[in-house]
């Protein structure tokens, strides 16, 4: 998982590092382990990267002043990197210098390593080296990208910044990973994983980068090209969990989709005479609001967060996840004690966090009843495209039915949203969605050139 951004200044007086920094803050929810910024100042690429949250890695803001230039790219990622030079954006110097960052997963990475005779410690490094070779052979970034996208197979949104100050941006033909484009006046263009970035840095959101589409920015043009035939399979999990509610992805407002999910939950599994609806912060709040509106059950605030916001579900270890949840969810006794509660959450992976939450509500806060409603269908398969869903033997929905789960987590009743309900809430035809983690059937990824 990750978030990427590229900002291209149309005049040289702009210093983009600070814009990239705030863009990365806006993408922090997509990756909380590493982050990095690479800039170009007309002569060379400058980089700064590290492990930690964006404001931790760049806690000394002087670092931003030392990243000169009017073009900048950056990323946040959720995989652990031991060697900080391998953190994205990865910079390679041979045969031609460039920086690359991407969100996604490449499926044919082993074949690529063999065929292209490159080595690297992670996908980003391997991709950067292959792109550098393509660039040397073609001498033209757009052509290099066309060849490159013809070779790589998988789900990706990626940004390359060359040592000559060209920025090339591509999205896989299935569009599994999001990518949006925007701009600020006559001054700069922006591409970013999510449209919320545009708001945060004061730019205007324009559109999605379409599946299979490439944008090329250089000193005197922006070129757009449909490189691969689009076959949209937009990731449904973005709508349920990953994306920020203030983003618009693939033409759909995340907030609106989440409100519809809440309505669908109310239609499918309304709790009779529930006394209060509580959403698990933050993702499930719109679900709970819409459920409350639809069922006329009062909405309450059930939890207060301690410490900084983190996304507990994408933390790499069980211990960190539990710590995350416990700090995130300090219950409000007055909202819970003695009540028949509808508890709405976005997803259930292993069931441990739900169990923890329900237990506290029932055993310590004195909830009368706890009815759990999940704003997504049963999560039954690992994602091959880089979304952090664990393997099958760690997924509770693979092994237990709703009634059994309710006993495990200590709830009176427990229900998932139906697959049909989710598809309707998103409002994109089912054939254009990747619902693999809920169905176990993943779209076939082709990489034929158009």
């Amino acid at each position: 998982m990750g978030g990427i951004v590229g900002i291209y200044g149309f005049s040289k007086e702009w210093r983009m590092a600070r814009f990239v920094y705030y863009a990365l803050l806006a993408l922090q929810h997509r990756g909380q382990e590493n982050c990095g910024i690479v800039t170009f100042n007309g002569e060379s690429l400058s980089q700064y990267k590290g492990s930690g949250l964006v404001d931790q890695v760049f806690s000394n803001q002087n670092i931003l002043d030392e990243l000169p230039g009017w073009i900048g790219i950056g990323s946040v990622t959720s995989t652990i990197e031991k060697d900080s030079s391998k953190i994205q954006p990865v910079v390679v110097w041979e045969p031609l210098p460039l920086a690359l960052c991407f969100d996604g997963k490449i499926l044919n990475i082993k074949d690529l390593v063999e065929k292209e005779k490159v080595n690297g410690e992670n996908e980003a490094e391997i991709l950067a080296k292959i792109f550098s070779l393509e660039l040397e052979q073609t001498g033209n970034p757009m052509e290099a990208m066309v060849n490159f996208m013809g070779k790589i197979k998988g789900a990706y949104s990626l940004i390359v910044l060359t040592g000559k100050g060209e920025m090339i941006v591509g999205r896989d033909p299935a569009g599994i990973k999001p990518l949006t484009i925007g701009s600020f006046g006559f001054d700069y263009g922006v591409v970013a994983s999510e449209s919320c970035v545009m708001d945060v840095i004061g730019a205007d959101f324009k559109n999605d980068v379409q599946p299979g589409e490439v944008y090329h920015f250089d000193a005197y043009s922006i070129e757009r090209k449909q490189v691969l035939k689009p076959n949209p399979k937009f990731c449904a999990f973005e709508y349920v969990y990953y994306a920020r509610p203030d983003s618009i992805l693939n033409g759909k407002s995340i907030y609106e989709v989440r409100m519809k999910i809440g309505e669908k939950l109310a239609e499918e599994h309304s709790v009779n005479k529930g006394e209060i609806v509580l959403g698990v912060p933050e993702t499930a709040i719109p679900f709970a609001m819409a459920y409350s509106n639809k069922t006329k059950t009062p909405l309450g605030i059930g939890f207060v967060q301690t410490g900084r916001r983190i996304r507990s579900a994408i933390k790499p270890t069980e211990f960190e996840r539990i710590v995350g949840v416990q700090l995130k969810l300090n219950p409000i006794r007055a909202a819970i004690a003695g009540k028949k509660i509808v508890l709405v959450d976005d997803s259930v992976v292993r069931g441990t966090t739900t169990k923890n939450t329900v237990n506290i509500m029932r055993n310590r806060m004195g909830a009368k009843e706890v009815h759990v409603r999940i704003g997504s269908p049963r999560l039954i398969a690992q994602c091959p495209f880089g979304t952090d869903v664990p393997p099958k033997d760690e997924l509770i929905a693979v092994h237990l039915n709703a009634e059994e789960v309710s006993k495990v987590v200590g709830a009176d009743t427990f229900h998932w949203l139906s697959l049909k309900g989710l598809v309707e809430a998103i409002g994109i035809p089912r054939k254009n969605l990747c619902l693999g983690c809920f169905t176990g059937k993943y779209p076939q990824i082709n990489c034929k050139e158009r």
Partner: protein, 493 residues
Amino acid sequence: MVKVLLVGEAAREHAIAEAICRSNYDPKLYAVMRLRNPGIDSLCKVTGGEVALGNSQDPKFVVETAKKFHVDFVFVGPEEPLFRGTADELEKEGIPCIGAKRGPAELEMSKAFMRRLMWKYRIPGRLRFKAFKNVEDAIAYIHEYAESVALKPARQAGGKGVKVIADLQAYLTSEKTHVKREHAKAIHEKYMKDYRDIDDRILIEERVEGPEYTLQAFTDGRTVKPLPLVQDNKNAFEMDIGPETGGMGSIAGKGMFLPFITEEEYRKSVEIVKNCVRAVEKETGEKYKGIVSGQMMCTASWGPTIIEFYSRLGDPEAVNVLPILKTDMIEICEAIIDEKLNKIKLKFENVATVVKCVAPKGYPEERNLAKGHPLHVDVDMVKKLGCKVYFASTDLQPDGKIISGGSRLVEIFGKGKTIPEASRKVEACIPYVWLEDGWGVFHRSDIGSEQLLEKRIEQANLIRAVYKYRARKGLIGKTIEWIPKKGKIIIET
């Protein structure tokens, strides 16, 4: 027979030339051009006129040429010859000119003069501004006030050097301030470098946002006769992304308005332009004879607001309206000269029009790269597709080759029942324009599309709701603030 000398060499002048040559008064067209625009060149030949290649910005050269050919009047296309007193010099020789004299042309030439005038005469649609005579004072001001501003050369500098900075995120203010400072320096050192004809150097205006449009009009100093509203698209690339250009294409109609400007807003816009024409005469004692255009924006503070004035037709905006002008152009010109414009009724075909510019790669930032490439345009094919070619920055060589001059190459005009229909017609012509040496060209396919129109309408509705709210609260032309320890203050805007 009427002999007309046209000054200028861009697509706008090609459209003017064509309108003149459509006249029933047996026109004979002469032209003063820096580059040999193939379109104007051919119209001169067809009507039995001639081309004088030379510095079209030099009043002396224009006067000499006018005398040499014994023309009845001169029509000046671009602004710079007016700033340099071409109309004044012609008057001395008794040659009438369509184009403002140096005095009234100050409305465009000095943006500081224009703002002062609007304030002095309390004309609606004005903006708060500060004019600076040196860069140090401008920079000191920039450091003192972190605000959203437009930084402009105080003089019209070929449409270049304007930077609008929205400074709304406190956490990015340091970067915005840096850019404002650097740009103020650039205005002083680069954009204003060659201009010593006004004292003011740098203009800092409050930044406004909203849909922009151009109101072009003929005037004889007494009557102002507006042409249909046009909207230009300034960003170089699609979806309004990219650096500022002279305009990548424009839309108009159907009729006098645009789909996102109401009749009321149109009337207010005309009123503002009329007021300014009257004010400039009072101020300079000179009648304004020629063209006046308001480059306008519908803003939250006023509704219709003046961004800048043109003392000429816009380019590409001229190409939207002149081809559909049904009134005889020479009759209009003579009415301006005789101050009888009130007798003229302007008639236009009742259609929507779209103009798209095709530019060489390199435009607008790296014009030396965009220059010197041989152009191919299949004019007959464009005609067959129901559209028209207007030549822009191009130079016809003795061997018949057309060479790019560094700016936009051609402007393609199309008309239809709706703007999207006209846009589709023009789009079909684009493949028939290329550079023979393989150098890339670009245009904006989105201009006139349903999608972009929807965005403009959406933006206009948003802004309209705000200025209507302000009108309900009695806040047009002023802002009320409450400042701790100071109390309530009313700021005129």
